[in-house]
């Protein structure tokens, strides 16, 4: 599928770079931003592990 040239648009996860065929669920944000299920889980883990705003610190 991935190599199929007739597949018109490839949506890529903006965080890990995998395309929609390689991940379970891909959630689209505004513009050209997407996030896949795995990255969502990863982010949640990060938040749970050390709460607070990393960039604000």
């Amino acid at each position: 599928m991935a190599s199929n040239p007739t597949t018109p648009v490839q949506y890529l996860c903006s965080f890990c770079g995998k395309n929609q065929d390689q991940v379970h669920g891909l959630i689209a944000g505004p513009g050209d931003v997407n996030i896949c299920e795995d990255c969502v889980d990863l982010c949640r883990e990060i938040i749970v592990r050390r709460g607070g705003n990393r960039l604000g610190q």
Partner: protein
């Protein structure tokens, strides 16, 4: 300070547009992509909802997916067959175990019956392919797989590796994806080295033997383990990765050198023999294999494993030591057979390497004498080819190297042939002097 604060770069969540002051936490992706904690929760909800609303569809799909993606035991067996010679029983057991492991981890989410794992213990002399089986399995599986070494482990608090570190290796193999790691397989090598060291009269604690077995108990059975993410020992000011080991399959392997004596003792206990050579019941090369097929948990207890530990490894498989036929097959048949490896080495120098059939047999024969299993083959081949590997690269005329039984058994130089099929007379240092002596 204040102006500094206002001039600070503003990061915005790429999904909802809020900046870092408006959200609790902002996670940066590669490039200028950010996501805030609220969006993460929202995304999680969307995913849950989607999978939840389509539960029936998802489970049907999941069940079909398991059936489709999971390699059948026969397929796993065939794959192992490509690399590992012999050991049919062990291959079958591993294939079934891995297949069941897939099924268990796939079905863990739903169903009333909770499936539990059956860990495996591989017992067999050195060099028969215990670790190699594990490595081959690791390559073909798409679950995280790690190979740990029991020799380095010590009880918590003592210098050496804590048992939790074997889980860390698995987590690393899963790219720190804990959920993925919880479906992984761990191979613990050299498990016999942590057996209790006899009934030691010393009063010191057996920190690398029995202590390790005790520490492994909970991990092998299934618990929530706290793993320090950087490895090393635990200390209070450190956050841990929590991992549930209930679904991690453990395969242990060990040589258990001397185990056959315990088995023999048990088997011959009932029928007492009297007279000269009374203890010659099981002798010869097959004796050890014959005995290892009778291995039971009792023998492992005698060997020095603690009952709690043995009980958690319900499957015990004895591996057979390799005979001449198997060794010859190991030399030639597997995908990365030794002969193929050496032919590749020689091909880099533009030389064709040929072994005659009796040479292969001779190599196997010599390797058996080394008593190191298949590892002995490499020793023998290195010794045999050492001279020509020294000689050939400097000479352009050699195109073919033929090894026969004589060169293996008597360490004579293998035949070197030129492109036309003429024999190359490479004189070693000894014969050169002889020649000089004649001319002088």
């Amino acid at each position: 300070m204040a102006s500094n604060r206002t001039n600070r770069v503003q990061y915005h969540c790429s999904f909802c547009g809020k900046n870092q002051d408006q959200v609790r936490r902002l996670i940066a992706g590669p490039g200028a992509v950010y996501i805030c904690d609220e969006c993460v929760d929202l995304c999680r909800e969307i995913i849950d909802e989607e999978t939840g609303s389509a539960t029936t569809a998802a489970t049907a799909k999941g069940a079909a997916g398991v059936a489709k993606n999971v390699p059948a035991p026969k397929f796993i067996y065939e794959h192992l067959e490509e690399y590992v010679v012999g050991q049919d029983q062990a291959k079958k057991v591993l294939a079934v175990a891995v297949y069941n492991h897939y099924k268990r981890t796939g079905a863990a989410a739903d169903g009333d019956i909770e499936l539990e794992k059956s860990n495996i213990l591989l017992v067999g002399p050195t060099g028969v392919g215990k670790t190699y089986l594990a490595k081959t399995l690791a390559k073909m599986l798409d679950v995280p797989f790690s190979i740990a070494d029991a020799t380095a482990l010590t009880e918590a608090g003592y210098v050496g590796e804590d048992v939790e570190n074997i889980l860390l290796h698995l987590i690393q193999a899963a790219d720190f994806d804990i959920q993925k790691a919880e479906r992984g397989i761990i191979y613990i090598d050299e498990i016999d080295k942590i057996s209790r060291k006899g009934d030691n009269p010393s009063i010191t604690r057996d920190v690398s033997g029995e202590g390790v077995q005790q520490a492994l108990l909970k991990i092998i059975e299934g618990c929530i383990a706290n793993v320090p993410p950087q490895g090393g020992r635990k200390h209070p000011h450190q956050d841990f990765l929590q991992i549930n080991t209930a679904n991690i399959l453990f395969i242990c392997g060990g040589a258990f050198e001397g185990l056959e004596n315990y088995i023999e003792k048990r088997l011959t206990r009932d029928h007492v023999r009297i007279g000269f050579q009374a203890d010659r019941g099981f002798r010869g090369t097959k004796r050890k294999d014959e005995l290892l097929t009778h291995v039971t948990h009792d023998d492992l207890l005698e060997f020095g494993l603690i009952p709690e530990f043995v009980g958690r490894l319900p499957m015990v498989v004895g591996l057979q030591s390799l005979d001449e036929g198997s060794l010859v097959r190991i030399l030639t048949e597997p995908k990365n057979a030794l002969i193929k490896q050496y032919q590749h080495y020689f091909a880099m120098d533009g030389v064709e390497l040929v072994f005659t059939d009796d040479a292969l047999k001779a190599v196997a024969e010599m390797a058996i004498k080394h008593k190191t299993g298949a590892r002995g083959l490499r020793t023998v081949l290195e010794e045999t080819l050492m001279e020509v590997m020294y000689e050939i690269p400097g000479r352009g005329d050699v195109k073919k190297c033929v090894v026969n039984a004589e060169s293996v058994l008597n360490r004579t130089r293998p035949l070197l042939l030129t492109r036309g099929g003429q024999q190359v007379d490479v004189s070693g240092p000894g014969s050169t002097q002889e020649l000089r002596g004649e001319t002088a």
